[in-house]
Symmetry: none
Subunit: 408 residues, 2 copies
C-alpha cells in the first residue's frame, strides 16, 4: 500500500494548531577551530531550554538522502512532507518564485542571463561582463514591452540581480523540462532548447515557443553592448504538486520574509501573509492570525545567511535573537510545535550541507527525551532518531492526534 494513501485515509479533522518553525540552515558542525561546539550549542537559549524542560522529542533529519546537500527547494519540500525526489522543481521555477513571480501550475519558467555574442552568434562572455542590475532591469523592460505574447502563450519577464533574469511562459499545453539554451562555455553558439524526453508533445510545443522567443528577442538586443544575447537554463514547468490543504487537511499559512520561501510555500498552496520583517513581528502576526489557519510555516533566514558567510558569532547571535522572540509565539502555544532547519549550513563549509539537521518536537504527546537543551549533539540521543525530513509533517500530524488507528 502506498504510504501517502494510508496517511490520507487515516487523517481526521481536528481543531489543532500546528507550527513549523524553520531556522534556515540551522544545523552545524562542531570543529576544533570552533572549540568543539556548534552555534546552537554556543548560543544562550533560555527560552528554548525551558521548552525542552517542558518535554520534547528530538532527533536529526536527513533532508533528502544520505550525503545529498539540498538547495532550498528540495529542503523545504521535504519539510512540507513531499518527497523531494518525487516532486522535483526546476531551477527556473525556483528562480521565478524567488523573484516573487506569481507562478501557476503548468507555467514554464527559465533562469536566464544576458551574455555577449559575436557577429557569428558565438558566445564570447556568458555573463555579459556582469552588467549591473539597473542595466539588466532596462533590458528586461525593453524585452517585456515587445514580447508580451507568442501565439497563445503569455510571456512574463522579470529582472534579477546583475545579469540574471527569469522568463515565464504561460499558455495551454506547455511542459518541461527542456535542455539548456546555453553552451555552458564560451566559444560556441547558443544551442536550441530541446525536450529532455523527445516524445513529449507538450515539451515540443514549449521548445517551439522558446525558439520563437529567441528569434524575436535577439534582434531587440542587437545594438546593445555587451549584453546583446541571453542564455536560458533549467527550463521546466511548475510541477503539479498536491495541495497542502488537501493532503494534510490543514489550512496553511506562510510567514516568511524572503521571496524564495514565500514562493516555495505558494507552490504547495499556502497562503502568504505579508508584512512582518523581524522574527518578533512574524510571531506577533502569528498571534493575530491564530484563529484563521491550522498550520503556520514560519521562516527565519539569518541562521543560513551567517552560516553561508562562515560567521559563527553572527549565526550564534541569530539563534539568540530567535530565542529572545520565542516567548511571543508561546503566548498562544500551538498544539504541536516543530523547530528545525531545512538543512545544515555549517560555518566551516560556508554553504549548505548534507549533515542531518536537529529537530525538536513539542506537544502534549511528544514525550520527553529528558535532554537539557536543543543541540546537534543532544538531538543525536533523541527518541526520533535519524530520519528523513519528509516524515516530520507526519509526526506533527500524529502529535496533533490527526491519525486514526491503522488496523484493529
Amino acid at each position: 500500500m502506498n504510504l501517502d494513501t494510508l496517511y490520507s485515509e487515516l487523517t481526521l479533522e481536528t481543531k489543532a494548531k500546528l507550527v513549523l518553525m524553520v531556522l534556515d540552515g540551522l544545523g552545524d558542525l562542531a570543529t576544533n577551530a570552533q572549540g568543539r561546539v556548534t552555534p546552537l550549542e554556543a548560543a544562550r537559549t533560555p527560552n528554548l531550554d525551558a521548552l525542552v524542560a517542558d518535554g520534547c522529542a528530538q532527533g536529526r533529519m536527513i533532508p533528502v538522502a544520505p550525503g545529498i546537500t539540498p538547495g532550498s527547494g528540495p529542503g523545504h519540500l521535504g519539510l512540507f512532507g513531499y518527497d523531494p525526489l518525487e516532486f522535483q522543481v526546476g531551477r527556473g521555477v525556483i528562480e521565478a518564485l524567488g523573484l516573487g513571480v506569481d507562478l501557476k501550475a503548468g507555467d514554464v519558467a527559465a533562469r536566464a542571463n544576458f551574455c555577449t555574442l559575436d557577429a557569428q552568434g558565438v558566445v564570447t562572455d556568458r555573463r555579459a561582463g556582469r552588467i549591473d542590475t539597473p542595466v539588466c532591469e532596462r533590458l528586461c523592460s525593453l524585452l517585456a514591452q515587445k514580447m508580451k505574447k507568442i501565439g497563445d502563450v503569455d510571456v512574463l519577464i522579470k529582472a534579477g540581480k546583475g545579469h540574471r533574469f527569469v522568463v515565464v511562459f504561460r499558455g495551454p499545453g506547455m511542459e518541461g523540462p527542456l535542455t539548456d539554451a546555453d553552451p555552458h562555455r564560451e566559444g560556441l553558439p547558443i544551442p536550441a532548447a530541446k525536450p529532455v524526453a523527445p516524445d513529449a508533445a507538450k515539451a515540443r510545443k514549449t521548445a517551439e515557443v522558446v525558439a520563437q522567443f529567441y528569434r524575436q528577442a535577439l534582434p531587440l538586443l542587437a545594438k546593445e553592448q555587451p549584453a546583446n544575447g541571453f542564455l536560458m537554463r533549467g527550463i521546466a514547468h511548475q510541477p503539479d504538486i498536491p495541495l497542502f490543504q488537501n493532503r494534510y487537511r490543514l489550512k496553511p499559512a506562510c510567514l516568511a520574509v524572503y521571496p524564495m520561501y514565500k514562493g516555495l510555500a505558494q507552490l504547495v498552496g499556502m497562503t502568504k501573509i505579508e508584512g512582518p520583517q523581524t522574527i518578533a513581528e512574524q510571531f506577533e502576526r502569528y498571534l493575530a492570525e491564530y484563529d484563521r489557519y491550522d498550520f503556520f510555516f514560519i521562516h527565519y533566514k539569518y541562521t543560513d545567511m551567517y552560516g553561508e558567510d562562515g560567521n559563527f558569532p553572527a549565526k550564534q547571535r541569530a539563534i539568540e535573537e530567535f530565542d529572545a522572540a520565542l516567548p511571543i509565539l508561546l503566548r498562544k502555544r500551538p498544539d504541536v510545535l516543530a523547530i528545525t532547519g531545512d538543512h545544515s549550513t555549517p560555518c566551516a563549509l560556508k554553504g549548505h550541507s548534507w549533515h542531518p539537521q536537529p529537530v525538536l518536537l513539542h506537544s502534549p504527546y511528544s514525550g520527553d527525551d529528558k535532554l537539557e537543551r536543543f543541540t546537534e549533539t543532544g538531538a543525536n540521543l533523541g527518541s526520533l532518531g535519524v530520519f528523513e525530513a519528509k516524515y516530520l509533517l507526519r509526526y506533527m500530524q500524529a502529535n496533533a492526534r490527526m491519525f486514526d488507528k491503522f488496523g484493529a
Copy 2:
C-alpha cells in the same frame, strides 16, 4: 527519480583520497559472560581514541536489511555502495573468487564437491566421506587434464578445502542461474541443472554445457572410491556490476590478504595490490601507492576469524594490533577515513550476525559527535544514527566534497 542516478548526476571530480578500512566482523555483543563489554570496548586503542578526539561522526550500519546476517559477499557489496539485494552474486562466483580464480564478466561458476554414488547413480554420501584436501587436489587435476573444453566453452577447475572445488565455464552466450545439480539429501540421484528462468536462452546453453560436463566427467571418476561423483550448486554467471570507478569517479585499489576479499574487490573493478601480509605492511603499502589511487579498500581479517572461534581475548588483541599499526596509515592522512566492519561476528555467536556494525567517519567535514572512543555503545550515540551500509560510500563521497548541491 532513481537515487543512484541522482548521486551520479551530482558527482564532481576532486583530488580527494578516501580510505575504507574494514575490520572484518568487527561488531560484537556485550554479554554478562564477557563482563558486559565487547572486544572493541575492552581493547586498548590509544590511536583510535586520538582519532575520535580529533573529531569523528559515528553510527551503526545495517549490513543488508534488519535481521539479515550477510555472508562476506553481500557484506562487502554493501560497503562498496552496491545494494546487496539488487546485485546478487552467486555462491559459485563467491567461491571461485575466494579460491583466487581470475573471473571475468559472464563467466559461469559453480560450487562443487565430491560425493559418493552407488551403482544406480544414487547419492549415498553427499561429502564423499569428507576426503582430505590432497585427494581433492588429485581428483581436480585428473578432471582438469581431461576436461579443458566443452564445445566453444573453456572449463577451469580449482580445488578447495576437503571435498570442495569450483568449476568455471568461460564461453560466449552463457548465463545463470541454474538449479542445483544436487538432490540436497542422500538416497536420490543427481538432478540435472536447469535454467531457473525457463525462457532464458543463454541459461539453456549453460544447462547443456553442465549436462555435457557431467557426461564426460563422471566416467573419469568411476573407479575412484569414495569420491566417484560430484554435486554442483550455486551455478551462476558473474553479474554485470557497474564498475566502481565509473560509479563513483574514484580510482580504487584493494589491499587485502585473503583471496575472497581480493575477489570481491575485483568484482567491482578495483586494482588488487599484492604482497603485504600484515596490517602494518598493508598500511606501508598504502603510503607507497598513495598518489596512484583515489580510494583504498583495506581489509583486515583477524577480527572475524577470532569472532568465528568465539575467542574474545584474541579478537580484542587483533583490534589492538590494528590500533598499534594505525599511525602508519595516518602518516599520509586521507581526506576521508571510514573504519568499520562488513558485519558483526559476535564471539557469543561464533559466526556472522545481523547486529549493526559500528562505523567511524573522519574528515574535516565529518563533524564531531564528542564521543571519547569508538565502540558499539558509543556509536549508538553518533550523528549518523543507524543506517544501511550501502550509504556509507555516499557519506564518504559527501565528506570528500564530491557532490554538487541538489536543486536550487
